[in-house]
Amino acid sequence: MTEHASTRSSQRLDDFLRARPSLGRRASSFILVLENVIKVPLFKCQRCGECVLSRTAFVCSQRCPKRLRNGACGGTRPGGFCEVYPERRCIWNAIYSRARALGRLAFLAQITPAHQWDLERTAAWLNLVRGRIERPHLGVSRNVSERDRKVAERAGREIR
């Protein structure tokens, strides 16, 4: 399991809930209801439990039929349509366009770690405060390296 730098209080909460798995599950279900009310209509959230919306310019990457976290795949059809559903726009193309518009391409240049599938259908917000998943990337200036910036700048110069 991936370890994320967590504060002492989040470590304590995680230890507390790990010792009480049934309470942990109930807390997760409860928070997931709240989370769904907001994130499903707003982002078409797929409830992966390990939210990476802040990396993907707030377009949910888990709508990709291959559930790619480092897309797009090489099967994208002419015009930027999905390999699997030819009538749909490739979600990674949508992410790319939005990231370019919002100045968040540098986050796409970073490798998103493999998904922790054991967190599927659990509350990402709870996982966050328990320190089980990475913190959201807010400001571009703080979270990206010189290399990420360089890739983003060069990629962003391409028109289509």
Partner: protein, 297 residues
């Protein structure tokens, strides 16, 4: 035996090719095709259930190629296997003498003939390359020690023709960061777009960190081209090319001529380290193509 490693280290122009494994349990088709590759190319890819159709496994095909004196590149996709199976197969391939892997996301099964199968996609190509690099360095994905690490070169694929160009640059940058030693590209017909992609690759200095093998597909007939355009994911075939093939007296000869012209232009592009030949269902053309394109050594 010519090998990919030796070719990459020598700095000369590299030539790889690929074979689609047979639809049955007999190795005969691979053995038969091997004569068209042996001594003509540095290494041969064994595809992994290509286009989502069940075939002889890529690792088993690689064993047949090894026995025939050919250095295999084992393709592994994330479509059919989770991280446990993939890590096990990386060990397995290395144990039988495989020294190169091409790590891919993989076409979705809806492209194949058993679309009801469960899609796996536990990892993606980028995280699979990263996992393989970790194993080569002595660590499984969970951080546990690999007692005898696999000594393998790691490859990734790139499709410079799919939209958006910027995203295609981001992708190759990530694969290089993940640890790819070489990149094999999708078949190139639109040289203008390929050159644009390469310009971006050079601006990012990626050509100095990874060896780029440009995909070349010799087409035997108009039908072969239209089949690939319509059935193979990510394949972009310009209408002018189909027009040129249609107008040709002997389409197969025209196909070789077009491939040779493409190779000649690719060799002029700064940062292209070699070519990857994709003689789909036409393995016997490889010796002639290598000779006529001036790739023989």
């Amino acid at each position: 035996m010519r090998t990919l490693r030796e070719a990459l280290e020598s700095g000369r122009f590299v030539v790889t090719a690929e074979i689609g494994p047979p639809l049955g349990a007999s190795p005969d088709a691979v053995v038969k095709a091997a004569v068209h590759f042996r001594g003509h190319v540095d290494a041969v890819n064994a595809t992994d259930n290509q286009t989502g159709i069940v075939r002889l496994s890529s690792t088993a095909t690689a064993k047949v190629l090894l026995d025939e004196g050919i250095d295999p590149i084992v393709q592994m996709t994330c479509r059919d296997r989770n991280r446990l199976a993939l890590q096990a197969d990386i060990l397995g391939a290395a144990a039988i003498g495989v020294r190169s892997l091409l790590l891919l996301t993989g076409d979705h099964m809806v492209m194949g003939d058993q679309p009801e199968a469960r899609p796996v996609f536990d990892l993606d190509s980028v995280t699979l390359i990263e996992a393989a690099r970790g194993m080569r360095g002595g660590r499984f994905m969970n951080g546990e020690e690999v007692v005898d690490p696999p000594d393998v070169l790691l490859g990734g694929a790139a499709n410079p023709f799919a939209e958006h160009m910027g995203l295609r640059l981001v992708r190759i940058a990530k694969k290089v960061d993940a640890g790819a030693d070489f990149i094999q590209t999708q078949a190139i017909f639109d040289l203008g777009r390929f050159e644009r992609w390469m310009a971006g690759v050079r601006d990012l200095g990626l050509h100095e960190r990874v060896r780029i093998l440009a995909g070349v597909l010799p087409a035997r007939s108009v039908r072969a081209l239209t089949y690939m355009r319509d059935e193979v994911a990510g394949m972009m075939i310009p209408d002018e090319l189909i027009g040129r093939m249609t107008g040709a007296e002997k389409p197969a000869d025209e196909g070789v001529r077009i491939a040779c012209e493409t190779i000649a232009r690719l060799r002029e592009i700064d940062g292209v380290a070699g070519v990857h030949l994709m003689p789909v269902m036409w393995e016997k053309i490889v010796p002639r193509l290598v000779h006529e394109a001036g790739l023989a050594n």
